[in-house]
Structures are given as C-alpha cells and as structure tokens.
C-alpha cells in the first residue's frame, strides 16, 4: 500500500483500518500523522453530530400509540396548514430512486474502469441478454461505442455506451433486477431512468434528457 492509497482508505473509514493500512501507518511517519489528524477530526465530527435527543424520546418512540396521539395534538394544526405546501412540493419534487442512482454512480465512478478492463466485446452476448429481457436494440439507437459485461450491485449486467444524435448515453441491461415501475434519479449532472423489462430492467443514463427520451422511446416501441 502506498501513501496515496493509505490516505484514501483512512479518509473513507478512519476507525476501521484493515491490517495492511495499519502496517503502513506504523512504518510511515507522514501517514501516521495523517491518521492521527483524521481520527481527531472524526472525534470532533461525532461530537458535533451528537445533537441532544429530546426528553422522553425513548418512551415516546416505543409507545406505539404515541404517533396517533401526537397527530391529534398540536401537530395536526401545523400539518393541515402545511398540507397545501406539501402537495405542491410533492408534485414538483423529483424522487431519486436508489437503483437509478446506482446507475449514475456506475457511470461516474466505474464506467471508465469497466471499459479499460474489458475483454474483447461480444455483441452476441448483449443481444442474447436483450432478447431475454424482451428488448430490441434498433439501429436508430445510435452508434454502439462500447459493449461489455458490467458488475453491478452483486450481479452482472450488460453495459453499452451509445452515441445518439443528442449525446452519449449508457445502457445497462440488468436481467437480475426486476422492477415494478419506471424509476428515475438525477445526480452529478446526469439523469437516469430505469424501466422494467421481462424478468429484469434496463437502465439508461445520460447527461442529456433528450438522449434519455430518445432511447426510452425506441426501447418501448421495440
């Protein structure tokens, strides 16, 4: 383990250093110093987050009738006043679905590595998985720039990068991830939509919402 790797690990999980990292800190004074500071920071952070819990919290939380009683109390008034605002907000608030978010994370943090490490592409496998999901991949999608398997949340999907008329998009065919209904997310300047497919789902991730719409429409009409 080199110093850079050590610092990454120490900042990701300062209180649970694995043996290799601990050995590095023992032998490297700069990293030992770095770790000491990271642990000091961690202690201050934990202290700052330790907001005082309200009196009687435990009793209220464990009393299963407490919620009902409180809703009849003063909060009911506040709730009704806020209801109109809440309705307006719920309509406007885009919800981030965890699976769709994970698709964005894949593109941001892992796609480049997946492409670098990929073995020679096997278009047959992509088509086989697409057929399994009941999805066709029409030529109008755009130019397939890359295809390959991708490890995704404990299973393997098929990963394709498509160049559409509106920009680059990533397609992930996920045969092991069934989905009840269409889900969306947006983060890191990317948008993702995951659509249910036979026995699994298909995630589309792109920086361009037009590109997303274009692909989703083509997949639907296929």
């Amino acid at each position: 383990m080199n110093c850079l790797e050590f610092r990454r690990v120490a900042l990701a999980e300062p209180r649970r250093l694995e043996a290799e990292a601990a050995r590095h800190a023992e032998q490297c004074d700069a990293c030992k110093e770095f770790l000491v500071r990271a642990l000091e920071d961690e202690a201050r952070l934990a202290r700052a987050l330790r907001v005082r819990a309200p009196e009687g919290l435990r009793a209220r939380l464990l009393d299963r009738t407490a919620a009902a009683r409180r809703s009849r109390g003063i909060l009911a008034l506040a709730a009704s006043l806020l209801a109109a605002v809440a309705i307006a907000l719920v309509l406007a608030w885009p919800r981030n679905d965890p699976l769709a978010l994970a698709g964005i994370d894949f593109v941001v943090f892992e796609e480049a590595q997946a492409i670098l490490e990929a073995k020679p592409a096997d278009p047959g496998e992509l088509r086989r998985v697409a057929a399994q999901l009941g999805v066709a991949l029409p030529a109008q999608l755009g130019e397939l720039r890359y295809i390959g398997p991708c490890p995704f949340q404990g299973s393997t999907g098929q990963h394709a990068v498509v160049k559409t008329a509106f920009g680059k998009a990533t397609l992930m065919l996920l045969p092991d991830r069934p989905l009840a209904s269409r889900a969306v997310a947006s983060a890191h300047g990317l948008e993702a939509v995951v659509v249910p497919a036979a026995g699994g789902s298909v995630a589309i991730i792109s920086g361009s919402s037009r590109s997303l719409e274009h692909i989703e429409m083509l997949l639907k009409s296929s």
Binding site: L49, L101, D105, E110
Partner: protein
C-alpha cells in the same frame, strides 16, 4: 403488560434510538420532523420484527428503514426538510453550537449522497460495504463519497488544515 415480543424488541432497539433520532435530525434538520421520522421507523421496524433474522444487526436495519422512509418522499416529513440556505441550529440542542453551525454548513455543501454516507458511518458506525448495501450503491462509490466528504470537512474541523495540507 409487556409481551415477550415487545420486551425483546425494546431490548434490541432501545440503545439505538438516540442515534436513530440524530440520523433523522441531520437528514431533515428539524427536531419535530426528526422525531416523526424516527417514530415511523420504529413502527415499521415493530411490524417487520418477526421477519428479521439477524437481530444483532438491528441498528443497520433501523437506519436503512429510516433512510428509505426519508427518501420515499411521500410523507409530509420529506417535504419539511429545511432548505439548505436556512440556518436551523438551536443552541440548546448542541453541546458546541458554534461547531454544530460550522458542521451543518459543511454538510450542506456536500452532495446528498456523500452526506448520507457520512452520517450513516459516523452515527451508525457502519462499514463502507454496509452503507453501500443500504444506499443501493457500489462499495467503491461509497468509499469515494466518504473520502471526498472528509476532505471537504477537514477545513471546518481543523482551522489549520490548509497549512498542513501544503506541508504534507
């Protein structure tokens, strides 16, 4: 009278409730909403309790339920989240209000995913792998978020960190 199911449930979740509340508090930045969210979580946990196999992992389970409740966005509580630019720190709730204000500001400046991962780790004591499975992200992505989050927080937590960074 306390049934044996309730007694077992209380024994298991009782120690986690304050941290659960704190997690809710930093997610929605409001005492009342935090307690509501924690209440909803405990009710759901109570209903799901008979089906939970690993009773020792109860804290992770509670945090995951709470996070999902928060993210679900259907309840009022999701909508009461205090906007990022509003100050919500009430001095009596914090041992060190000045630090809490700085940390609050620094947390707001982080991305939502980084903030969630950091709160789960510091308040819940979870590993990167556990956070990854709770948030539905990859472990590598969670590590990256946490690393960035702590880097960003260094300046807040240690005023002299800038100088140190140049030396090291």
């Amino acid at each position: 009278m306390l049934g044996s199911r309730q007694a077992a449930f209380e024994a298991a979740v009782g120690d986690c409730l304050e941290d659960l509340y704190r997690y809710a508090y930093w997610l929605c930045r409001d005492r009342w909403q935090a307690e509501d969210l924690a209440q909803e979580t405990v009710l759901r946990a109570w209903r799901g309790w008979p089906g939970l196999r690993e009773h020792r992992a109860v804290k992770g389970w509670l945090f995951t339920i709470l996070y999902r409740e928060f993210a679900r966005g259907t309840g009022r509580r999701r909508l009461h989240v205090v906007p990022d630019d509003e100050l919500h720190i009430e001095p009596q709730d914090h041992a060190d209000p000045a630090l809490a204000i700085d940390v609050d500001r620094a947390l707001r400046a982080l991305g939502e995913e980084s903030r969630h991962a950091l709160l789960m780790q510091v308040l819940g004591g979870f590993s990167c792998a556990e956070i990854a499975s709770a948030l539905g992200a990859s472990e590598g992505a969670v590590m990256t978020r946490l690393t960035r989050a702590r880097q960003a927080l260094r300046r807040t937590l240690q005023p002299d960190a800038g100088r140190e960074a140049k030396e090291g």
